[in-house]
Amino acid sequence: MVAGLSQSSVAITARFEGSQILIYGAVRREAPPPASPPLAVIVTVEGPSEPVTVRRKDRRFGLWINTEAAAVSAAPTFYAVATTGPLEAILSQTEDLRQRISIPRAIRAVGIAGDVTDVASFTAALIRIREAERAYLIDTGAVRLTEDTLFRTDVALPANLTEGSYRVRIFLLRGGRVIDWNLSEIDVRKAGLERWLTNLSQREPLAYGLLSLLIAVAAGWGASAGFRLIRA
């Protein structure tokens, strides 16, 4: 398989409104392909992983309050799966377990901790909430496969991106088994003013805090003086 991306880096500037990544490739072969089972392609794009705490509310003394909590050691901040067909039809359970392709597998549920009784409902909640935010998505049929050789898909990176390295994996499958796969990366970085502010806030927090105050005081004074001029 040979594959490529329309861009290998994304710069987040103040006017960043999301980005379309074109992922394409071709199947290279030495022998004629077997007639069946048919070829399938899965493309995953995975953002940097971060630990997440999932809390559940329960009713105590008539009030809905947080009771149980579970910590997921690493969950991707973004995860998109694009396929040529329904995931359960083209991917076997064992391959999913090995390659961590489907959303539940991509979240490392083994790293869940906390004194909860039903871990499954907490991971399910994590996926449900992230899917509602469009941070996790499955796009069935979004990969177009032409003549069992050429494939392409578009993955839309949302505007709410976390900085880091985004892993793009392309799997070729036949009969539920992965026959070849490819890994590439998209580097997502803040640029310009966004970069400068982030660096300043972390390297010189006191200066950053005082600068924020200075802006606030100057703006407050400016507005007051400006309004006095208007009225005068």
């Binding site: 997440v52 809905w64 909430i129 950053y208 805090g209 105050l213 703006a219």
Partner: protein, 306 residues
Amino acid sequence: MQIYLPIAEVSVNLFVLIGLGGIVGFMSGLFGVGGGFLITPLLFFIGIPPAIAVATGANQVVASSVSGVLSHVRRRTVDFRMGLVLLSGGIAGSAVGIWVFARLSASGQVDLMVQLAYVLFLGVIGALMLQESLRALRRRNRPGTPARRTHEHSLLHRLPFQVRFRTSGLYISVIPPLLVGASVGFLSAIMGVGGGFIMVPAMIYLLGMPTKVVVGTSLFQIIFVSAFTTVAHATTSFSVDMALALLLILGGVVGAQLGAQAGLRLKAEQLRILLALLVLVVAGKIALDLLIRPAELYSLTPGRLP
């Protein structure tokens, strides 16, 4: 028009932010409350992470308070002496509050404590203010009945360390304002707000200050409390988003000016009724959140379990 916020790492509409800042700034100029108890829930609502909303909200409060206080200074409705006394009490109180907050965080139920404190204080203060100001308004509309002074604290006049607060027209001991400042500082450290909505009624009803002086004096001391909060958050949790703050400030300073203007056209009783209603609405909203079954029982917070 969308803008990507560098620290919050979310993309939001520019005009929504300016508008939010404007609304909160207007309230701030009108009532002399910092607006922290309004801006923080509003920012949550548009998807800003809670820690960033709290810290950046404090930064915005500095700007709108400065803008508001300047127009009060020009009208000589700021009691600087009273403001400094309240502030010194407030700093002591908030130091204790920060310590208690850390203890509560360790026990894990800090969210609930904060929400209950909100409902309790906002509810009680709002109800008392509404009742009192409605009564005052009715009395004003029925001439002939003698107006009763709102402060008849004979104890206030017997305590030592009597000081003259000329702008407020008071000659009282510094102990009550110090205590008021300390308790507001304590509560605001726990509840994560500037405390204007507690301070304003306390100044009117406990210290007996005239309503027109209360707003400017409250804004004066809020500037310092929220400036301290902003720097504390910026240095400990890196959660002040300057781009977000700038947009909120842009709307906020203009709103505060308009609010201060609008305040001049309202009677003191009307002003107090409006503030009481606002406080009750916020209390009611938080109470409902606690009582009604949420649509999603689970919530996500970045980071590990404490």
